[in-house]
Symmetry: C2
Subunit: 448 residues, 2 copies
């Protein structure tokens, strides 16, 4: 059988990795797929550079539409990124009857509903293993490996930049800003790191996992997003003393309603720094590595770990999608795995819960005046709000502010309570004259 | 579309879990698969017990052949186990044109070649996600998720019983025999634990992973197998002091030949206790949990973790296979993933290497007389054999044998060398009059 012909839009870091791995392992891949897979055409604005990368045997053009218009091309790989021209080109490729492979989490998390509907209508596949956690086959695990399960929750370290920064902060006892500079120097953080450090990238990815796990449409606009920019070395140290690590997690959870607690059915979708018990496997995922924990009602806890970014790890996921499509592209659509794991006519209407309704536990750090009665006031406010305390840590003033200091840190771990209630309690505590700085609040998950 | 009809052979722990999960999550599974999946017929020798488990709506028979002969049955699940009647029934089910789902690692590791050939000839699928690492979708990851990669090696904790025993030995400083009794009392080890503790079960599983990873036939008879029965608490403690944990690993590795070292191309396939650096994620997998590390040339290191046994975790894998088959059973065979990941006409002829040709590093413990010159003799033998020493630990005689003891332990970590060479060196050391007991040799893998 003649090889499947693939057109590549954008040959940057991941694109060149994809080209190279396909070439290097072509014999092995063909032995698996039963058919060769060739990138025969590349579109990139820098034609000369692209041509140098792929050699003379591959057609290089500057106009992506020439790739889409080529009737010999079976699959289009979109590696341009962003919501702009990438969206237009993906929709045009679908309209032209091409299957699409993309690593574009932003595009799918925001415009996935439109794109998947167009693909279904046209009978083509849009595959996106590379959009979440790089080379880890987590989309496949969720869509196919765990189909027996009612998935209960997913929690993932799905942004390597922030995990690298948090690992360094902990290892070296440094504050965020210092480590960020180092990460930029080493290439672990981009010149404009906003999407990573503010949690937006992780939110795109957890939005996709949430849709696949629970059979709901992608709803990036409903995600609660909080980054790591306000974390200090002190919090990481205190967490450690309490037996926890701080990680930036993407979390999505199915909540069973409970009328007695005025809780409705719904889905949590959130990205924020999180205390997790140090003994959990995921707490020990260091550096730029990614890991996703999936809890299913039959399988229990499973974890998937690997490189979440980089040229060849991401290429590994892109090529796995190419092989899947190669196997199924002449099969009728009923034989294929649905884009979002559930049949399009069997999606759930479960609402996304606002952050104020999320129930979790908390780490609070209060910088307080070292004087009698502060503790009683603070714990009084929590008791009044019905929030119970799990553990507390109070440092000697000298330790915190140096000899003769009149300030100290009060660290509290709470049991579960609803976020709205915690917000109200924090506002009351913040108003106490003895509370000297903005209160630090970090959510805590036991992940068990 | 009418539901897919499934016949179940053997309703023990996994069978009843499969039945229960399919019932409990039937709506969710149907929303994914696009079609209902019903177990409509069960064969079990204990008909009354089976009928009580499945209720009056399901036909229960004592004769498995009645299930295979039923033309309404699309898929047969084999959960009988062993090589005997299970093999006959699987082949008969294939001959009758049924797809087969099985958790039977022993059967496939030993008779897989015959079974997969029969299935291919008949155009049916034999799915076996449940045969390796229970609920972890590792077969899917290897066969489909990592198709871009030239896989380099796999190392897995794939037997929960032995991992539970090793975790307990380490936690409590107890010897093997004591912990085994406790594990049997708790139900983590069977009354006859031979297959688990001697490494046979792990060898079945790593044989299957090896075939899928490297595109070679299943060759259980070529596996090197060593269990954990000879491990003592002392070795676990010494390993800890050197920064290592001891785990029973199933390992398979592709070796690139090197003429200068007289090494030929080939595949390693082995199960034995192993020192691994304590900082590796897999070193921290405790209790009855399983984890598999896969190293691919593009993706780098990935790890898959979860419950490797038990009723519902295993059922999770069985049902994932049912959903896959439900999607593909009317597609022609070219659309399906090959049983062993590679197309049957594109298998590799790479030979399995005998253990004597495996290259690895070693932990050695020698109980020696506490006298001058022993160390010089031992290190002299190693130097003569061209084996270099990575680290050494010598305990005070008092620490090892109590006050006034005239014996001590000499612990040596070596660099890589070929097993045959190490065997020869051990024989020479063993012959020294100052070496008082059989030398303990545990292999060491850095897994990086």
């Amino acid at each position: 059988m003649k090889p499947i012909q693939v057109g590549l839009l954008g040959i940057g870091v991941v694109g060149s990795g994809t080209f190279n791995v396909l070439q290097r392992n072509q014999e092995e891949i063909k032995r698996r797929a039963g058919r060769g897979i060739d990138i025969t055409m590349v579109a990139d604005l820098n034609v000369a550079r692209a041509q140098a990368l792929v050699g003379p045997g591959v057609t290089v053009v500057s106009d992506a539409r020439a790739v889409i218009a080529n009737p010999d091309i079976d699959i289009v790989i979109e590696l341009i990124g962003g919501y702009g021209i990438a969206k237009t080109l993906v929709l045009e490729a679908i309209a032209a009857g091409k299957h699409v492979v993309t690593a574009n989490k932003a595009l799918l998390a925001v415009h996935g509903t439109e794109i998947f509907a167009a693909a279904s209508a046209k009978g083509v596949m849009v595959a996106f293993e590379a959009a979440v956690a790089g080379g880890i086959p987590i989309i496949k695990a969720l869509r196919e490996g765990l189909t027996a399960n009612r998935i209960q929750w997913i929690a993932g370290i799905i942004n390597g930049t922030t995990n690298f920064i948090l690992s360094e902060m902990r290892d070296k006892g440094l504050d965020f800003a210092v480590v960020l500079k180092e990460a930029q120097r080493l290439g672990y953080a981009e010149a404009d790191p906003t999407f990573d450090i503010e949690g937006v990238d992780a939110a795109h990815k957890v939005t996709l996992m949430s849709a696949i796990a629970f059979g709901v449409p992608v709803q990036f606009d409903k995600a609660y997003i909080e980054g790591i920019t306000k974390l200090g070395a002190a919090d990481i140290k205190y967490a450690e003393q309490l037996g926890y690590r701080i990680k930036l997690l993407g979390i999505t959870k199915r909540r069973q309603g409970d009328a007695t607690k005025r809780q409705t059915d719904g889905i949590e979708l959130r990205v924020h720094p999180c205390l997790i018990p140090a003994k959990r496997l995921i707490a020990n995922v260091e550096g730029a590595m990614n890991a996703v924990v999936v809890q299913g009602d039959a399988v229990g806890t499973t974890l998937y770990y690997g490189k979440g970014a980089g040229s060849e790890p991401t290429a590994s996921a892109v090529i796995a999608d190419l092989v899947d499509i190669t196997r199924l592209h002449t099969a009728d659509a009923a034989h294929r795995v649905p884009h979002l794991a559930f049949q399009p006519n069997a999606m759930s209407k479960l609402p996304m819960l606002p952050m104020s309704e999320v129930v979790t536990s908390y780490y609070l750090r209060l910088r307080v005046a070292d004087e009698t009665g502060v503790l009683a006031k603070v714990t009084g406010i929590l008791a009044e709000a019905g929030i119970s305390i799990d553990a507390m840590l109070q440092r000697e003033a000298d330790e915190v502010g140096g000899e003769g200091s009149t300030q100290t840190d009060l660290i509290i771990l709470t049991h579960d309570c609803m976020e709205a209630r915690m917000n109200a309690a924090i506002a009351l505590m913040q108003a106490l004259p003895s509370v000297l700085e903005p209160i630090t609040r970090i959510r805590k998950e036991e992940l068990a």
